[in-house]
């Protein structure tokens, strides 16, 4: 049915809010990143100076290399663990729904809660190290969170714990959607279970791999709460991510233009990952 006046009128507020508060604000922030803004926005154009400065800042290169370590490990481990758990749970186990619920519940918690819980678990003074020592392993040490070389791996651990269940749920839905006739035929031909997974089922999970990758990658780039609660960026700046950098430069170091430039680069990174994916999904919607 062709839209008359009323539907157009009623969708206008939403359309305006999204256009202004998403796309308008993005344009505004991009504009700011080319100005001399410090504590407050200023509108004097300085060209690419802020990007040049950003690239030269050691804090930014530290944040980027941390993001690289964090994102690659987080994505690979969460996907590998999620797929493994999905396959294990797919073996007609008892209490399947109970296990699924246990693996998935961390997703219901806020990153601040997760960060707080893991902060104490990983703290050598009260957490796992201390516990193992009181249990008799006096040589046991686990002080990664206090070690600037290792702290970023603590962020990986907590983030994997939070999201693996969700990745498992995605893979499980994918596994259950695979055509069962092909599997039965292979089984009749004498194929072993692991061969069936390797040759038939996993190759058909391509779209799930892509979805999971896009979601995890965009979560990794956005990650902020977890780092703040877990390590607050420390020790030193060893767990700074671009999100932490942006907040620091914009709100505590009075370098708003540099902060804006960093958020523009975050958006670009997410766009590179998400836009091709959304384009594909939209085409499916259009054609299907």
């Amino acid at each position: 049915m062709k839209a008359g006046f009323l539907p157009k009128l009623l969708i206008t507020p939403s359309a305006l809010l999204v256009l202004v508060c998403v796309y308008g604000y993005i344009m505004f922030t991009i504009y700011l990143s080319f100005t001399a803004s410090t504590l407050m926005p200023q509108y004097e154009w300085v060209g690419t100076a802020n990007y040049v400065r950003l690239m030269g800042l050691e804090n930014w290169s530290v944040a980027l290399s941390n993001l690289w370590v964090f994102a690659s490990l987080y994505i690979v481990i969460a996907m590998a663990l999620g797929l493994t758990l999905a396959i294990l749970i797919d073996q007609k186990v008892r209490a399947e729904s109970g296990l699924r619920s246990v693996f998935l519940y961390p997703m219901a918690l806020s990153f601040i809660v997760t960060g707080t819980a893991w902060k104490w678990l990983l703290d050598p003074g009260v957490g796992l190290e201390h516990t193992m020592q009181t249990l008799g392993w006096s040589n046991f040490t686990f002080g990664w969170i206090k070690d600037s070389e290792m702290a970023i791996y603590c962020v990986v651990i907590a983030a994997v714990w939070q999201t693996t269940g969700f990745v498992m749920a995605m893979f499980l839905a994918g596994l259950r959607g695979v055509d069962s006739e092909q599997i039965n035929a292979a089984r009749l031909d004498g194929a072993k279970s692991w061969q069936i997974y390797q040759r038939i089922i996993i190759p058909q999970l391509g779209p799930v791999f892509i979805s999971a990758f896009v979601i995890l990658a965009h979560m990794a780039i956005k990650s902020y709460d977890l780092v703040i609660a877990l390590t607050n960026g420390g020790p030193g700046r060893s767990t700074w991510l671009p999100s932490v950098f942006m907040y620091q430069y914009t709100f505590t170091r009075n370098e708003m233009a540099v902060g804006a430039a960093s958020s523009v680069l975050m958006l670009v990174a997410i766009g590179v990952v998400v836009l091709p994916y959304l384009y594909g999904e939209m085409r499916k919607v259009k054609n299907g």
């Binding site: 062709k2 969708i11 296990l99 998935l104 809660v113 707080t116 104490w120 995605m170 607050n232």
Partner: protein, 286 residues
């Protein structure tokens, strides 16, 4: 022989699954157990053991007397803030999503597809990119540092999600029902209120749960746009845990973390099925 092997594999399977499940439960177990211990028991004992002396004092402290920022109010006022934020934000964004979903699927409009794509991408943007102009806007509107301001922000950036949910649901809705209602003379609101909404219970539940969880757990907007009168619970909890004054009261922090987790855990336990559906819909599969 084969039987013994497969039996062994079966046992190994359960050992791995149950072992992993225990590791997944561990952090929450540690939170609860240590929130019920006196402080020196945590320092001298271990995190895994049950309390020798059970106490609710850490919970009382986290709830009503712990220092959050400048005042010793406990988490209580911020727990209230979070509800004052979540309820209107969830109701509004769900209603807007339903309306948008209806319009985008039932009416032919130029730019409808582009508009939906624009809303969809807004789900993925890093919110850092809108922080500065949004802070200015809230200041301009007189909403900076208020719960109302946070409601506004969460509704705006929730539109993409809720529209996606309802759009996909209404796209699969039987068109005959709508057509026959039209033949019977139902107007714009008639179709929405008498046909679509009464048949939308599943997607409404998914949207409400999803939005409730997201907004309850939200931190960046809270940290950027609120002050100590309007902190949501996540920000208050982070202040409680990271405040460096005095002795670290681990047991109080554990109690506080669990208090912040309770509402979404309850939602998850009561309606896990819908929670999962929300997650899957959020992953643009569907």
């Amino acid at each position: 022989m084969d039987k013994t092997v497969s039996r062994f594999l079966r046992i190994a399977l359960y050992v791995i699954l149950v072992g992993t499940a225990l590791m997944f439960i561990l952090p929450v177990y540690v939170m609860v157990v240590n929130s019920l211990k006196p402080l020196d028991e945590i320092r001298n004992g271990n995190l895994m053991s049950l309390p020798m002396e059970w106490t609710l004092a850490p919970w009382r402290s986290a709830w009503s007397t712990a220092q959050i920022g400048v005042q010793a109010t406990g988490l209580k006022p911020y727990f209230v803030n979070s509800f004052l934020l979540v309820i209107p934000a969830v109701v509004l964004s769900t209603l807007i999503g339903a309306l948008n979903g209806y319009i985008l699927t039932q009416f032919k409009m130029r730019f409808a597809h582009a508009l939906f794509a624009a809303m969809l991408f807004s789900v993925f943007i890093p919110f850092q990119i809108v922080l500065i102009p949004m802070a200015k806007t809230l200041g301009f509107l007189g909403l900076a540092g208020t719960v109302k301001g946070l409601v506004f922000v969460n509704v705006v950036y929730g539109i993409g999600f809720t529209t996606l949910f309802f759009r996909n649901y209404y796209a699969a809705f039987p068109t005959e029902l709508i057509r026959s209602a039209r033949m019977d003379g139902a107007d714009f609101f008639g179709v929405l209120l008498r046909i679509l909404l009464p048949n939308s219970a599943p997607i409404i539940v998914v949207t409400v749960i999803w939005q409730f969880t997201n907004i309850w757990n939200e931190f960046l907007f809270g940290a950027s746009f609120s002050d100590y009168t309007s902190f949501p619970l996540t920000v208050a909890l982070n202040n409680l845990v990271s405040s460096s004054t005095g002795v670290k009261e681990y047991n109080v922090h554990f109690a506080g973390a669990f208090i912040a987790a309770i509402p979404t855990l309850i939602v998850y336990l009561v309606s896990g099925k819908y929670f999962v559906r929300g997650l899957m819909a959020g992953s643009v599969k569907g």
